[in-house]
Amino acid sequence: MPASLVFSQMMSGLTTAMFLFLIASGLSLVFGVMRVINFAHGSFYMVGAYLAWQVVHWLHPIGPSFWLAALAAGLGVALLGGVIERLLLRHLYGVDELYQLLFTYALVLILGDAAKFVWGTDQLSVSAPPALAGGIQIFGTTQPLYSLFMIAIGPLIAVVGWLVLTRSGAGRLMRAAAHDREMLGALGANVGVLYTGMFVVSSFLAGLSGALVTPIQSIVPGMDVLIIVQAFIVVVIGGMGSFWGTFWGSVIYGEVLSFGILVFPSFSLFSVYALMAVILILRPWGLFGQPLR
């Protein structure tokens, strides 16, 4: 295999990995603190993508507006998440996990069709911002600037997130909540506000990543299901609720996918689920997670 091909695949794998990290980190965050697996996270991602497209579409006469659109998408989905959490989800805390899972699944159904209703079923796409259009030559391959941007952004967000988690007051609260919710409430911390905040942040991340993916992938119905499954797998590999686990899990998954397809074209589908099954059987808490209490 020529070195340039290896390099290309590696870069492509990293790009996928960073996207997944953005998305999966939101999922892992919510699970780590609130013990809820949010199936609708992929739907938030999809809504973010559509919102970004919508904003770009509206502002088209004025000029390119990618960054504004991405921000708007993140905020819009954050708002959506906040409303859902406040009005509906909070009534299901402390109730059997099955009901929480089913609730988020109901959201998937509803949001999926709502998106179809508003934006139709045609593929939509958004162009990369002018500053990041085009590519540069590295090692004999052309790497899209936008991909490089994503690869850089990922670790940046990871480090920022890590600092927030470990250094800030809010971060300490979150980590404490992950260990013992009841204790936290007893100490007077407003657990309700914390949960809403976490959910809003997670939704923002989902919406933002949806917007950011649009120059690379078309927006289609079904992207919600596709992404949530992959985010799931990443979180399982890395370990539920583990921050760095999600990061490395994304990298591993992204690269395995990228190289696997070269070797076995039918690789992705079966092997991805097989990988998830193997991890769950051998080490359900993933590489970095903790065994569930």
Binding site: G94, E97, L102, A106, I110, V229, F270, A277, L280
Partner: protein
């Protein structure tokens, strides 16, 4: 303390804590004794080919098959407290086994059908062995993973499963012998198949019901209510869960086999994870706390589907809203609601007896 908890609250129907129990002493509703209600329903169902149109019989077949699928799931959900997100895997294995045997190898239905059940049960044994070792969240995810593996194999293994083309044109079983039964000679093949399905499913229900009411079934409910306690009355929790998993998987396989013939083909998207969610919704809709809950759920959901899809393509939206309503307002489902209504009526009548 173990992560497992019972699916439903100790009393009343469903789970939202803070809701007061339905009454101090919960009496299981019994319709008037001595009247064989089930038998009556069965006989009525038998008359469908004559009383209804061909389309009604078509719907009826689908309802009956879905009812079996849902009842098999409820053996896990309502009786044992196991939440499986991948139950459709066994449905699919059954469908493919029966379909492949009948279409590709010309095996008669009488052999292919039980083979489907056995194949599904076997797969349930292997996958279940790994699943029951995990606590409930991970259990649910592993069942999902296995189910998607089945889907991925079905989708890609062109030589055996037909890949994304599936296995079309599965033949009906030979039902000419039915002409010998008085009154049946005039029926078309699909109507005869409906009757055959009805009888098979009725027998399956009888068997499953028997199992649930047996000492084995009693052990399953102890696992559901309190696995820790169950272990300490001598119940090997994992072994019982695995047994329930295998039985449920086997019957799901039978349902799948019937479905393959009914829809004249077996396709990979039968096994996609959304189908597992549909059957869960169907079961909860009907009511997980009663044996006849899931069949009621099947009836209502199939009927609802027919009504809605005439007007709009947004069936998933309706399904989602329905699920939300169930979760927040009626966790006990239809059967739960009926039972609560029954108790209410009985309590109104009681003073007169005194």
């Amino acid at each position: 303390m173990s992560e497992r908890r019972a699916i439903s609250a100790p009393t009343g129907e469903g789970v939202i804590p803070g809701k007061p129990p339905a009454s101090a002493a919960v009496v299981r509703p019994r319709l008037a004794r001595g009247v064989p209600w089930i038998l009556i329903v069965f006989l009525i169902a038998l008359t469908l080919p004559w009383v209804g149109s061909r389309y009604d019989t078509f719907l009826g077949t689908q309802i009956v098959i879905d009812a079996l699928f849902a009842v098999s799931l409820n053996l896990l959900l309502g009786t044992t407290g196991l939440v499986s997100f991948g139950h459709v895997a066994y449905f699919g294995v059954g469908a493919y086994v029966c379909g492949i045997l009948m279409k590709t190898y010309g095996v008669p239905f009488a052999l292919a059908f039980p083979a489907a059940g056995l194949g599904a049960a076997l797969f349930a044994l292997v996958s279940g062995y790994f699943c029951v070792r995990l606590t409930r969240l991970y259990f649910a995810m592993l069942t999902l993973a296995f189910s998607q593996i089945v889907w991925a194999i079905a989708y890609k293994w062109n030589s055996v499963t037909g890949g994304d083309q599936g296995i079309p044109e599965i033949p009906y079983p030979h039902l000419d012998w039915m002409s010998a039964i008085p009154g049946l000679a005039d029926l078309g093949i699909s109507q005869r198949f409906y009757l055959l399905t009805l009888v098979i499913v009725a027998i399956s229900f009888a068997v499953i019901r028997r199992i649930i009411r047996s000492p084995f079934g009693r052990m399953l409910t102890t696992v559901r209510d309190n696995p820790e306690r169950a272990a300490f009355i001598g119940v090997n929790v994992r072994a019982y869960e695995l047994a329930a998993f295998v039985i449920a998987g086997g019957f799901a396989g039978l349902a799948g086999a019937l479905y393959g013939i009914f829809s004249r083909g077996v396709f990979a998207d039968y096994v996609f994870w959304s189908k597992s969610a549909e059957v869960i919704i169907m079961t909860i809709l009907g009511g997980i706390n009663y044996f006849w809950g899931p069949p009621i759920g099947a009836l209502v959901l199939v009927w609802l589907n027919q009504q809605i899809t005439d007007y709009t393509q947004y069936w998933p939206f309706v399904l989602g809203v329905l699920l939300l309503v169930l979760l927040f307002l009626f966790p006990g489902g239809i059967a739960g609601g009926l039972a609560a209504g029954w108790r209410y009526l009985k309590s109104r009548r009681a003073p007169r007896r005194a």
